[in-house]
């Protein structure tokens, strides 16, 4: 429980620090992402010791990330009328754009990444 609270306090504190930083620099950058970069730096410095103390809070939030999106997604569906004029372009951008992007990226990687030399212990 204490680790959970410590982890949560650190995560919120870093978000705050990130928000303060981007506001001070007046750049259009999400403060929470700046906080994430700060946490990466802290993890690089303090390593497993810090990881052990924040892992529980971080995993709890990340595992249940889906829950946080019921707010915006349901609000979007309730407001569907406003987006109806964009239905066709949206369907094309997502329905055709997504498989196209995946195919293009898969081909780029197939051509640019040499096949992996099998190592002992690798799963098939």
């Amino acid at each position: 429980m204490r680790d959970l609270l410590f982890g949560f306090a650190l995560l919120v504190g870093l978000q705050l620090a990130g928000e303060a930083l981007v506001r001070a620099l007046a750049i259009p950058f999400p403060g929470a992402v700046a906080g994430m970069l700060m946490l990466l730096v802290l993890l690089a410095i303090f390593g497993e010791r810090l990881l052990a103390r924040i892992a529980r809070a971080a995993d709890l939030l990340l595992r249940n990330l889906t829950l946080l999106f019921f707010g915006p997604v349901v609000a979007l569906v309730l407001d569907y009328a406003g987006f109806m004029p964009w239905a066709a372009p949206l369907a094309v951008a997502i329905g055709i754009g997504t498989p196209l992007a995946m195919l293009a990226l898969a081909l780029v990687l197939r051509w640019s990444v040499p096949p992996e030399s099998p190592r002992a212990g690798d799963e098939p």
């Binding site: 999400p30 992402v33 997604v73 949206l90 990687l109």
Partner: protein, 239 residues
């Protein structure tokens, strides 16, 4: 009064917030159960299966979107610390990243540019509104990061998140065909493509395929989000 505090401003507002949150948690738990039972099929994602009954009830009792937003403020607020927490899986996968630096780097850079670019090129014949283009730009970023990035570039964050989620679902569905068409079997490539283009839903799909594609998908998702968050505000300022 706005934000989380508005929730406590009056007894009815507080009760609405409690009811909204309870509805979300209940729908989420049932949706998760169904999703697990259907082996994480993209179409059975909780945001699809659980949104339908939620919206049906809200329409039936005539709750306006504004009231729902006010009622679910706590969930929006929790998004911040969750984004900071993404550093934890990135740090855990640092050996995967260093070990396969070349494919990871290529996938993240090419994917972060290609995915929104293809989407934007495809809608150009429709003479799209500026807002639509802005909302499509964070298309391949994990929804957690897409929300604040959309806010930063002046796009509608709800629309951006909706686009991201549908992209993930479509990506998860088409993945087997895409990999067959591209004749790709390399677990690293499969994971990276799913994580970079189809973010969280794609990553769930990759985890079903095995530990290795799952790990690469997680890395691709996190780094694409980070790169886009760093670059998109700069690009959007030029538009």
């Amino acid at each position: 009064m706005s934000g989380v505090l508005a929730m406590f401003s009056s007894v009815p507002a507080f009760l609405v917030a409690v009811a909204c949150l309870a509805a979300c948690v209940l729908a989420y738990l049932l949706g998760q159960r169904l999703w697990r039972r259907l082996h994480h099929h993209p179409l059975a994602h909780p945001l699809v299966t659980a949104t339908i009954p939620l919206v049906a009830v809200l329409f039936a009792i005539d709750v306006p979107a504004e009231q729902w937003r006010a009622g679910t403020q706590l969930l929006y607020w929790l998004l911040g610390p969750t984004i900071v927490a993404i550093a934890v899986p990135v740090y855990r996968q640092r050996r995967t990243v260093l070990h396969a630096a070349r494919p990871v780097l290529i996938a993240v850079v090419v994917g972060a540019i290609l995915s929104p670019l293809i989407a934007i090129l495809l809608v150009l014949p429709f003479a799209p509104a500026h807002e639509l283009l802005l909302a499509l730009a964070p298309k391949s970023v994990t929804s957690a990061i897409a929300f604040p990035v959309a806010q930063a570039i002046g796009a509608n964050p709800e629309l951006a998140v909706g686009i991201v989620i549908v992209t993930g679902i479509v990506g998860g569905i088409v993945a087997p065909w895409v990999f067959r068409a591209a004749r790709v079997q390399d677990a690293r490539i499969v994971g990276l493509v799913l994580g970079v283009v189809a973010h969280a839903v794609g990553t769930a799909r990759a985890i079903e395929m095995g530990h290795k594609p799952g790990a690469f998908a997680g890395v691709g998702l996190a780094l694409t989000g980070l790169l886009t968050a760093l670059l998109l505000p700069l690009v959007a300022a030029l538009l």
